[in-house]
């Protein structure tokens, strides 16, 4: 039953509501703004890590950049292929996501392998230390281990070992590039995620100089390049070629006399860097492999001499004989004997 009271209340409320709604609709006319709902939709799908990997300050900048046409739709590394496809849907273009990448620290020279030659004091920051006499390490290329990349990584993928080396967790890394950009030594590089073997050294100096500063540096002996066409020489440095598509045999790592080449099918990176047992195990496997190889070669030679083929130099003792075509013209001063 409606009483007068209720009717009155309804009337008052109703009329005030009416007046207000009229005012609001007038206001809506006056203050009409066009909005682009793509921005909100983009913000919904972007990872929200604000890592800056796209080159814009944060995800909102990237979203705006996409709408303005200044951002590359495939530029969001942490989003991965899924996000790239979604961006394509929103922006109305067909996108093919790029190859998934992962950042790798190209240095295994921790305190024991490349001991510091000076006592650096001051800001615990690699960039700052690098600017002071090139850091405390003798190697001008090695990881300084002060954790600047760690602080730059918003995905918590980087840890600094007690032995002064940065290692990147492949599973957490989104290849956003923040660490690559901040590392004063340019030691961190992107590699295709499918690559299972990495050369953990970027020192391009002469073998003699590399050996003087680090026990695990690449000495350009080229042994690995003969195990797989995926490994090629870049000047005085062995690198995994991104162009050639082929599996990398385990022997690439085993053949390396310096132990510079890391094979993640055999060891976890943290074990490889930190666990002496892993190194011991590697050395054992290396010995075993060498013996096996020798036996195989001896067998092959016997077979060959049996079929009176021409003698062939032992690859273990003559390193320059069989360089990959198209590599550095100036061979290193001395190979591994």
């Amino acid at each position: 039953m409606f009483t007068n009271e209720t009717l009155l209340a309804l009337a008052i409320l109703g009329s005030i509501g009416l007046v207000m709604s009229v005012l609001l609709s007038i206001g809506k006319r006056i203050f009409a703004v066009e909005t682009d709902d793509r921005f909100d939709r983009l913000m919904d799908i972007l990872p929200g890590a604000n890592c800056g990997g796209c080159g814009f300050p944060g995800c909102s900048g990237f979203a705006q950049g996409l709408i303005d046409g200044t951002a590359k739709p495939t530029a969001c590394p942490p989003g991965g292929p899924e996000v790239t496809v979604l961006i394509g849907e929103i922006m109305g273009v067909k996108l093919t996501p790029g190859e998934p990448m992962v950042a790798v620290v190209g240095c295994a020279g921790d305190h024991s392998a490349a001991p510091p030659v000076a006592n650096y004091q001051g800001l615990r920051d690699c960039r700052a230390a690098h600017a002071v006499a090139g850091g405390a390490k003798s190697c001008a290329y090695g990881c300084l281990g002060l954790g600047t990349c760690q602080t730059a990584c918003v995905f918590d993928a980087i840890t600094i070992t007690d032995t002064g080396l940065a290692i990147i967790d492949r599973d957490k890394c989104t290849a956003c590039g923040a660490c690559i950009e901040i590392c004063p030594r340019q030691i961190i590089r992107l590699h295709p995620k499918r690559d299972e073997v990495h050369v953990l050294c970027i020192n391009p100096d002469k073998p003699k100089e590399v050996k003087a500063v680090c026990t695990v540096g690449c000495t350009a002996c080229k042994l690995c390049t003969r195990q797989s066409e995926r490994l090629v020489m870049d000047e005085r440095l062995a690198v995994v070629s991104p162009e050639v598509k082929a599996d990398i045999p385990a022997s690439c790592a085993l053949v390396c006399p310096q132990g510079t080449i890391f094979d993640l099918r055999q060891y976890a990176l943290s074990d490889w860097i930190l666990d002496p047992a892993a190194r011991r195990n590697f050395e054992q496997r290396q010995e075993a492999w060498k013996a096996e190889e020798k036996a195989r070669k001896a067998a092959a030679r016997e077979k060959k001499s049996a079929s009176k083929a021409k003698p062939k130099a032992d690859p273990d003792t003559n390193t320059d004989a069989n360089a990959e075509p198209g590599t550095d013209a100036t061979p290193p001063a001395g190979g591994e004997a």
Binding site: A118, A131, A136
Partner: protein
């Protein structure tokens, strides 16, 4: 070269000034006034000071451990906070209240902000204001100075404690006349006419009056402040602006209505102004960094002190004035930033208008 040399960025020399040196020199500057307060009020003052300082250092150590930061207890900052807090409290205050004050000062208004250098508010004043609001009766119960009959340090016992741990002896001013205890309180109650009945300026200067432990001897506080000024621990801007504003404000109000408002001498020498201007407002962490900003800070604190003294609900305004000005510091810093060499416009940074 087999022995590693030290490498570090330039400069390779320092001035020799260190944070502990600065903090301890402020403590040193407060020492005469502290000693005088102990002489004046005896054990009650000594125990308040000792307990407050102890708990401040204790909480500082505890927080340092909890936050896993390098120990800061010996740098003197916590001890200084404790000393300033203690000197702003009435002697004879129940000691557990002192500990609470130390907790508020060190833990709540300093450690949770990240410890030394990060706190926006003066910890000692935050602690004192908290106590004043939480325990108004205890914080406004003042001892009269003890009688020094013999040549002993602690004259006659001025206090005894009752069953509730309350001070009952003579020397405790009547609880009903809480606000009438200090000269400033009297002034509020009865107007400037009673100034004539109050101790003379010389007494104020020497400090033979009742009040907070640190509010007593304006002369010793002034001497400590000038010591800091000469040692270049503090700059002149804040104390001069603060005291100048208080004096000017008092002079104007006194001229307008001499029967209600006391003159500048009374306002400068009584209460916490001398202590506040030299030792509290000049706290680096919570005061502006630039000279002009420091002057603004001092003027603002002076005005607020006088407004609260003359028209506010609390008898003394120094602690509130300092806290309120602390809140304005980001703006003073933003407004008074130095212009870079050869620049036409000031830089921006921090709080912006």
């Amino acid at each position: 070269m087999s022995t590693p040399l030290i490498v570090s960025a330039s400069p390779h020399a320092t001035s020799g000034a260190t944070t502990p040196k600065i903090m301890w020199s402020v403590v040193l500057a407060l020492a005469p006034a502290t000693a005088y307060a102990i002489w004046l009020f005896g054990y009650p003052a000594l125990s308040v000071i000792a307990v407050t300082v102890f708990f401040c250092v204790f909480f500082e150590t505890l927080c340092g451990l909890a936050m896993r930061r390098p120990p800061t207890a010996t740098d003197g900052s916590a001890a200084l906070t404790g000393l300033i807090l203690a000197l702003s409290l009435p002697p004879g205050l129940p000691l557990w209240i002192c500990a609470v004050g130390a907790f508020v000062a060190i833990v709540i208004s300093k450690a949770v902000f990240g410890g030394l250098g990060q706190n926006p508010f003066n910890p000692a004043m935050a602690g004192r204001v908290f106590l004043l609001i939480a325990f108004p009766a205890d914080l406004t119960r003042w001892l009269v100075p003890q009688q020094h009959t013999g040549d002993t340090l602690f004259g006659e016992p001025v206090t005894t404690l009752d069953a509730q741990g309350r001070i009952t002896e003579y020397g405790l001013t009547n609880v009903d006349a809480i606000t009438a205890a200090t000269p400033i309180g009297l002034l509020r109650e009865k107007g400037a006419n009673i100034v004539a009945d109050l101790p003379g300026n010389i007494e104020f200067l020497l400090g033979h009056i009742n009040g907070s432990a640190g509010e007593t001897s304006a002369f010793l506080l002034l001497a400590g402040g000038i010591f800091l000024l000469i040692r270049r621990v503090i700059a002149w801007h804040i104390p001069v602006a603060y005291l100048g504003t208080v004096a000017l404000f008092a002079a104007i109000t006194h001229l307008v209505d001499p029967s209600t408002y006391a003159g500048p001498a009374f306002h400068l020498l009584s209460g916490g102004v001398m202590m506040g201007a030299w030792f509290i407002a000049t706290d680096y962490v919570t005061s502006p960094m630039f000279p002009k900003g420091r002057i603004l800070f001092g003027v603002g604190a002076g005005i607020l002190t006088m407004v609260i003294r003359l028209w506010g609900g609390y008898p003394e305004g120094v602690s509130f004035a300092v806290l309120l000005m602390n809140a304005c510091v980001p703006f003073f810093n933003a407004w008074t930033r130095p212009k870079p060499f050869g620049a036409t416009t000031a830089t921006s940074g921090g709080a912006q208008q």
